[in-house]
Every structure is written in structure tokens, then in C-alpha cells.
Amino acid sequence: MNLTTLQTVFTQALNPGSDDPAREEAASLLNVGGDLQPLDRLRVYQHNVSGMHQRAMERVFPVCRKILGEVAFANFCRNFSWAEPTSNPDLNQYGESFPEFLAQQIEQRNELTGYEYLLDLSRLEYLWHAAYYARDDSSFDFDGFSRLQAQGANMVFDPGNSLSLMQSDYPILEIWQQHRSGETVAAVKGITKRQYLLVYRQEFEPQIFKVDLPEFAFLQGCRRGESIVALAEDCDAASALKSLVSLIEKGWITGFHHV
């Protein structure tokens, strides 16, 4: 058996969901002896891998963990790490697709009825985490902007690197804030008024803001690469153009480019 095949057999047996033949095949690669049987030796690695991923997820999704409880969260983490493997060595970027995984689980399992809001909440937690690590922005070039504007050029505004947008029909910002301040939240019901949220890193600390629909639509349009002319024609986004300076001052718009 060559090195590649050996690693295939070994790593397949690390999956806690692997079947007996897979584990037996991996165990047959190992020397026998000492106080541990080959299957126990594989379990040490299974446990190490799961533990590493779980700790990474605990750092990213502390509120979801608190809501789901330690045992259920650990199970989700373990299943996630096998359902959605990553090739990225950087554990700080681990868990990006966990919200969608969680949503699938919630949909498939009756006992999770009522937890539908966790899709949005886990997204919010990941965006908050990602903002902490995002690239820095350069400051807005007002002179360059004025020059292009004077030439009548059509432009696209660039949102800040750490900026993310999301909307939810659940009061996820309140849930997030309450859990982080140590309070327990009662049963969550959907709200009729949609929340528009913006996650952004101010200097070193990620922040979450509620924004209004025009600001949300405007920044989302910028993110999609829509030009100023197109945004001015968008009834949802147009009024936000009036507060452009404020958006720039807040650091939400950090640049522009000519189209």
C-alpha cells in the first residue's frame, strides 16, 4: 500500500460515522501492542480532530452554542466537520458554511422546530467573527472622487472590506446582544418588521448596526457593483445617496472606481 492509499484508509476511519469495515481496514495498518488496541488508537485521533474543530467553532458561534446546549452543539460540530470539509489550514476561517448546514439540520429534524432563527443568528455570528479578521481599508480619496465627479464620470462605490449585510425576520440582534451580556432569552417568535443589519469593524472591534432599508439597499447595490446612476434609479436605494457623506464618514464606503 502506498502512502496516498494509506492516508486515504486512515483518514476515512477518523470519521466517527465510518462503518466497521473502514475502521477495521485502518486498524489492520497499525502495529498491535501496548495498552491500547488499534481501534482505541484511531479513536484518540478521532477525538483530537473533533476537539480541534469544536474549539474553533465555539470561538465563532458562542451564542448558538449557548442556545443549542453543549452536547447538541458538539454533535453539530462533529457532523459539520465531515459534511463540509475544508482544505483551508487557517482555523480562523473555519465554519463559514455552518449556518447553511445548521439550517438543513433544522429542516430535517422535528425536535429542532422553533429554532429556524438559528440560520440567521449563526450567519450573524460568522460575519461578526469574519469582520475581526478582515483586511484594513484605505481612507476615502475625496479629491480623486471630486475630480471624477467633475468629469461627469459614472462610478461604483466600494464598501469597506469588513462590511457585511444581512436581513432577518427574527430579532437576532437582540438575541445576540442578550446572550453576550449573559441574559437568557425566552422563546423566539418571528417578527413582522424585518431587521436590516450591517456588520462592520470599527478600528479593531466588530460592531453590528441596524440600518434602514435605503441604506441597506444602497450598500447592497454597491456590493453588487451597481453604479451611482443605477443606484439613483433604484427607489429603495436612491434616498441613501443623500447621506453619502455620512456613509463615507462611518467608514462603510471606503472607495470608488470608474465604470
Binding site: 483518514t11 501492542g33 501496548g34 488499534p38 480532530v49 482544505s87 482555523l91 475581526y132 479578521y133 478582515a134
Partner: protein
């Protein structure tokens, strides 16, 4: 490529350094303790923006640093992750670490990163693989790396040589150096029932450029390399065995889980320094 001819002047490290973890960064920046150097887990410092690069810049302006990586998957057979290595190279160029290291294991297979140090069989095929892989990675990084012996909880039937023989042979064939983890040797010696002293006798010590010391956990039927305790007495004894003959090898205290106060880390470093000093004087 000659990896000994580095394009920049590395500041040499000496004495006993500490693995710097996020819990202690503010304290270190505030109090500027007399620690000769810090080792950084490179993957924890790859963020392109925010607080992390600012902290790293501040640390680097006051201390020599070494980079300890976990993502090269030196023993892995997936293609090398060029993007990851370019990021590491950018960090190397920016912060000029005195040493760059990774482990003699694999961490990725079939595009699945396990984020753990998974063992390889010790045989001719693996030797050849490491030889090629280390050379390829050093060419990309344009620097010589150190490879570290890992702790393990199993051995493969496909192994045809001992771990120490494997490392010695690898170093004879490859243009890299060794980061000798004494705790890992002890953990493996207990887990796989071999003599740690005999292991040490097979290591070409002139190629050891750094030593790691850490704590392990006794799980009754095996020792777990948990990095969550003080260095154990038998590991100190093994360390002394090495440092009595080679008192100038820079040594690092590693502590990754259940992180204690910085004072505890300093105490461990002081203990290693005292041993180092005693044997330097004797020499």
C-alpha cells in the same frame, strides 16, 4: 536552491523563549518582559487586517520571533497549498522570523484539512516524499525550515525504521534542520515503549536548532501531548541530558490549552534557563 543563503539578516535567537498566545499579548506589550524571543503559531497571525497584524508588528519591534506552522502538511500527498505558502512567505518577509518550522506529519488528505498532526509510516517511500516536499516548500518560501518530531498514539506496520532512524536519515538527505520536541519524544517513548535516551543518541544534534518543552496528560493507557501542564519531571531529565552536551540550543516553552498566567510560563522558562546556564558554566 541553497536554503542556507537567506536574503535577509535574521536576528539570532538564544536562551529560552515562550510560545506567545493571544491571552498574553496585551500583558507582554504593556510590561515588555525580559523574554529573549517569542514563538508564534503562524496560522493564528494570518489575518490581513485588524488587531492581529498591529499586535504582531508591536511584538516584532521589541522581540525576535520564530514562526511555528501547522499547515504545510509536509507528509501529505495532496499537492502543496501554494496560496497558503505564499501567505506564509509574505509574513516571513514582513516580520523576518529567526526560524520557521512545521511538523513531520500530515494534516490534509483529499482536500480535507484535519487541523491535527497525523502520523506517517517511517519507511523509504515516506523519506523520499518528505525529501521532495520539504525541498519544494523551501523553494517557495525561499527559506530553510525546521521540521519537528511529533507525538503519536499509533505506529504503522508499514514502518521499516524507528522514528529516530527516520529523522536522522531524513536530515542526512534533506537541506533542513530539526526542531527537537523533547516532550514528544517522551510521550512516544511511553506510548510505543522505546527508550527515549536511545532515541536521542540517534539524533544528529548538530542539526537541532530549537528545542520544544511542553506538558502532557496521563490518560492511564497512554500519554496525550496536551500542552496544558507544566513540563513533567521525566521530560526535564531528558532535556538535561541534551542540554548538558548542547547548552546553546534555543529552547521554547509551549503551552496551548488551559493557558495559565504569564507568570507560570516565566517560571517554566526560568527553570529551563537555569539548567541551560548551569551546563554552560560547566562547559
Amino acid at each position: 536552491m541553497d536554503h542556507t543563503a537567506q536574503g535577509w539578516a535574521f536576528k539570532e535567537i538564544a536562551g529560552v523563549g515562550l510560545g506567545l498566545r493571544s491571552q498574553h499579548i496585551d500583558e507582554v506589550l504593556l510590561t515588555q518582559p525580559a523574554v529573549p524571543w517569542f514563538e508564534l503559531l503562524t496560522e493564528n497571525h494570518m489575518a490581513p487586517g485588524g488587531l492581529i497584524p498591529v499586535q504582531l508588528e508591536a511584538i516584532r519591534s521589541n522581540y525576535p520571533v520564530t514562526f511555528h506552522c501547522v499547515g504545510m502538511s509536509l507528509g501529505g500527498t495532496d499537492p502543496v497549498d501554494v496560496e497558503y505558502l505564499r501567505n506564509i512567505k509574505t509574513l516571513i518577509e514582513r516580520y523576518q522570523p529567526s526560524l520557521v518550522s512545521d511538523h513531520l506529519c500530515f494534516s490534509q488528505h483529499g482536500q480535507h484539512n484535519y487541523h491535527d498532526l497525523l502520523p506517517v509510516p517511517y519507511n523509504e517511500e515516506t523519506l523520499h516524499h518528505f525529501q521532495k516536499r520539504i525541498t519544494q516548500i523551501q523553494d517557495i518560501l525561499e527559506t530553510r525550515i525546521l521540521v519537528e518530531n511529533v507525538s503519536s498514539y499509533l505506529t504503522y506496520r508499514a514502518s521499516t525504521m524507528s522514528e529516530a532512524e527516520f529523522i536522522s536519515e531524513l536530515l542526512s538527505r534533506t537541506d533542513c534542520d530539526l526542531l527537537l520536541d523533547i516532550n514528544n519524544i517522551y510521550v512516544n517513548a511511553v506510548n510505543h515503549r522505546f527508550s527515549a535516551s536511545e532515541y536521542l543518541s540517534k539524533i544528529p544534534m548538530q542539526r537541532v536548532r530549537e528545542i520544544h518543552l511542553a506538558g502532557h496528560e496521563n490518560r492511564d493507557s497512554y500519554l496525550l501531548d496536551a500542552h496544558n501542564k507544566r513540563v513533567s519531571p521525566p521530560v526535564w531529565k531528558l532535556y538535561e541530558q541534551v542540554i548538558s552536551k548542547y547548552p546553546d540550543i534555543p529552547t521554547l516553552i509551549e503551552w496551548d490549552n488551559d493557558i495559565p498566567s504569564f507568570t507560570v510560563l516565566r517560571e517554566e522558562a526560568d527553570a529551563a534557563s537555569a539548567l541551560m546556564q548551569r551546563h554552560r558554566t560547566a562547559a
